[in-house]
């Protein structure tokens, strides 16, 4: 119940046991095509260039920036947590002129401030679900007013847990991770790229490994498949299976399951007098940041001790704060297969047992 990796679906683990096929085997390519179709369904997009990047979520971030940024391009980045900060670092290394729009960690970004930050940016980049704070940032308003800019969105923690509408919202590059609400172990970064972003892809980006033009020649269903790098076969089996579980349940039903868990958890924490970091209306159901209830820490016990006891005695992992929130917050995830109300019941009861009485 940390900020990810979540527990994988049983069907995902079973998929790992399939015989390893070659990356140019027709049967494997069929499974890869189906995986990309399933990704289009969860991203709610018709984007032809939709595939799993062969790395973790941060590889998705790097692939997103390195393929469209040229030296000196202006990139407006909304920053209200660790992953917005990371975007600035990644974009800067690509040679971008980074224009930051900061909001206090724990509060959502104001889309209008982002739109007003620069008259003609090449890219506007925002984290949809800030894993470091549990805050949801709005994408639709940015997409409708982005002008000539590309809208780049980090959907690592949102995809599969809350609505992500790549086409309706005008997101040009959306990337995610497998280890959050998709219920698959970490190792792949699903990504979807709009036709207008495809037109702006570098013909030779500084990264060979993440070169989307070359990768498209392998993952694209059209024509002969050109070998680029060896696909991570077993991880793709796992993603294929996880997406199958989500789509069999139904995307709306999966979102509803995450919502019920998050609301139940957040109500339970507030009923105990704890303070949630994110304001109502911008809270992620799948990831809840709560301020450490200092008054309920037993004598000579740190918040890290509490987390250790939860892990050692109850088998429950919850996350600590990142960056400026280290030592001040806990992050409790209900994602993927972990998003079950029984887990919410358990973590609240366990906290009551390990914390001092009110």
């Amino acid at each position: 119940m940390g900020p990810g990796p979540s527990n994988p679906y049983p069907e995902v683990i079973e998929a790992f046991t399939r015989p390893v096929m070659g990356h140019l085997d027709g049967e494997f390519l069929g499974l890869l095509d189906e995986t990309c179709d399933r990704l289009r369904a969860v991203f709610r997009t018709g984007n032809a260039l939709t595939f799993p990047v062969s790395g973790t979520g941060s590889a998705g971030m790097e692939a997103a920036f390195v393929n469209v940024i040229s030296d000196g391009d202006t990139v407006v980045v909304g920053v209200n947590g660790v992953f917005g900060e990371r975007m600035c670092d990644v974009a800067g290394r690509c040679g971008a002129n980074v224009v930051r729009v900061d909001a206090e960690w724990g509060t959502p970004l104001d889309p209008q401030r982002i739109l007003d930050a620069h008259p003609d940016p090449a890219v506007i980049a925002v984290v949809h679900a800030e894993t470091s704070t549990g805050v949801r940032n709005d994408l639709a308003e940015l997409g409708s007013a982005k002008g000539d800019a590309l809208l780049l969105a980090d959907c690592v923690t949102s995809l599969g847990g809350i609505d992500v509408r790549v086409d309706d919202w005008g997101v040009d590059i959306a990337y995610s991770g497998t280890q959050k609400c998709l219920g698959v172990p970490p190792g792949l970064a699903p990504i979807s790229v709009s036709a207008r972003a495809v037109e702006r892809l570098h013909c030779r980006p500084s990264s060979w490994y993440f070169d989307m033009g070359m990768i498209a020649n392998y993952v694209s269903g059209a024509g002969a498949r050109a070998y680029h790098h060896t696909a991570p076969i077993s991880m793709i089996y796992a993603l294929h299976a996880g997406l199958g579980v989500v789509l069999d349940e139904g995307l709306e039903a999966a979102h509803a399951r995450h919502r019920v868990c998050g609301e139940t958890l957040q109500a339970g924490l507030e009923a105990r007098g704890f303070t949630l970091l994110a304001p109502a209306g911008a809270r992620l159901p799948q990831l809840t940041s709560v301020r450490v209830p200092e008054w309920r820490l037993p004598t000579n016990t740190s918040e890290a001790d509490i987390r250790r006891t939860l892990l050692d005695c109850y088998g429950i992992e919850i996350g600590g704060g990142l960056g400026a929130l280290a030592g001040k917050c806990w992050r409790i995830g209900c994602m993927g297969h972990t998003a079950r109300t029984r887990n919410v019941t358990l973590v609240l009861a366990a906290l009551d047992e390990v914390l001092a009485s009110d």
Copy 2:
């Protein structure tokens, strides 16, 4: 029996079924430490910075170059196959002045020509085992005469199959893949970096994802672990298990098993009058390139048809030629769990059945 991925060891598949732990969980970090120790054993190195890069073998190549090359640095690359070509592309994108030393595909590189190519290169880069041709290139001679240059070696197909002696040979950066002789599915790139290469790491390379300075703060056993990106947990379980199998068998015994398979296969092919691409003395046992025996192709049957029949009717994958060798060669692998003499017996007998009589 293609050029990889090979069949994984059963213990590796079993490892995939372990519960997914968090990337900062102490139990997982212990397993990661043990994985790095096991990598040191197979690389035969004491290098502190030895870990699995979170991507496939080509990610290892990119991580190797991007962390040590600065704009305008001279990089001498030995090229006698696809992966030497790829090194030129990757190094060029890092801003290197690439000096190529070409040898005919199918023949080994001459170390002296590489050493003579430039008086003071920053990096000398060579593929130890060329997966596109089945040729072994010598590393020891380069390491002993490299001078101030760093020696960078692609050991994707060599590690676990033939001797790789990082410390004895003076290799400064060696990277590999999991899906060849280690008997693990593709998805990770083991890498080892010498102390003198660590001193030359960029403090801020153009790639965030492959930034070894930051990654070292996570994978290094010393002090607190700083989160960089979410480790691909299940793939690391798999690598840990695969390395366990190799080291339990014994590295020498594993090499001997690959050697026997390769020699048996190569003798069998030559006994049928087929021509091996690589000359005696530079042949990899784990990957054999053989010229397509045109005179034995049945009427109206292409070499691709033969490969398809082997796959469809016998469940045997063999590889076609890459690049200039497309349509002209087959590549037959005996790697990892696939390196069993029964498989050699089977592939030779199957070829006899599907090819026309002599």
